[in-house]
Symmetry: C2
Subunit: 135 residues, 2 copies
DNA sequence: AACAAAATGAGATATAATATCAATAGTAAA
DNA sequence: TTTACTATTGATATTATATCTCATTTTGTT
């Protein structure tokens, strides 16, 4: 995603509410929530496309971002490549294989760094990412 | 992939790839290592450009990546925007402000999740990233 | 049905990073 | 020093990622 200078998210238009039901939102949610491989936006596009060839790419991107904004999904930072989207929102961490590039869920069996306030930084969320080899 | 087929039998740098000294590598290292704000590759480019206007953009990208490969720097995953490069390689974590976009070092005063082997995944490294607001 | 606003979709634009490849330049051998 | 070899560079093209623009369509409401 491009970095915007002074706004947090493009979908957050002051007071704008995405309340209207559309078949596009339904389609993206149904297909994305069935994917358990932390897909990129493009991967979701491809899947949605197979069933709904008329849907626009920008629409899929917009809808995925709206899921993140509304807490229905999270973005996983993976350092390289496209953003990953994760339908699993409970606290857990991720592992990325540097060979195959796949991203896996990792149960947070260690003490998950807790959200804290220090150094004048107000923490809202934390992401833990392991790098290594899966195979 | 390239093998030194006709080099003398005893090379001190066995397997070393980027061995030749160039003023470009010197320039990028000197300027990058003085930047303490987790710059993107573009930010390094801009800085290097001011002193060495003839250096190529691709060269800066290549050299920065070689620093990461050789362990002289790390890439910081920030979920949004361009990759960040960090000259500080000792174990610590990072915080990213969702308002100003800046990235800060955070001392790992909690128990840093340790590198482990679980679920068949061989962990080589771990990154902890806080999201929040700095101001 | 008619209306206003939200949402979409096609394409343009912005941004990020690597690939290509001829020319250059570092290093060792002669 | 000169030569030979090839790693490295740099201009440009290409690929990848993601958002923006805006005319058109659709939704929810009256």
């Amino acid at each position: 995603m491009r970095q915007s200078k002074n706004s947090t998210a493009s979908t957050e238009n002051s007071g704008a509410k995405s309340t209207r039901k559309t078949w596009q939102k339904e389609a993206v949610y149904n297909i994305f929530s069935a994917m358990r491989n932390h897909p990129t936006a493009e991967m979701v596009c491809d899947s949605v496309y197979r069933t709904y060839p008329t849907i626009g790419r920008a629409t899929v991107y917009r809808i995925l971002n709206s899921f993140v904004d509304s807490g229905k999904a999270i973005k996983v930072p993976v350092c390289d490549g496209a953003d990953r989207f994760d339908i699993t929102t409970y606290p857990h961490s991720h592992a990325k294989c540097r060979v195959c590039g796949n991203v896996f869920d990792i149960d947070a069996d260690f003490d998950m760094p807790e959200v804290r306030d220090s150094c004048g930084f107000t923490v809202e969320n934390v992401a833990v990412l392991y790098f290594g080899i899966c195979c």
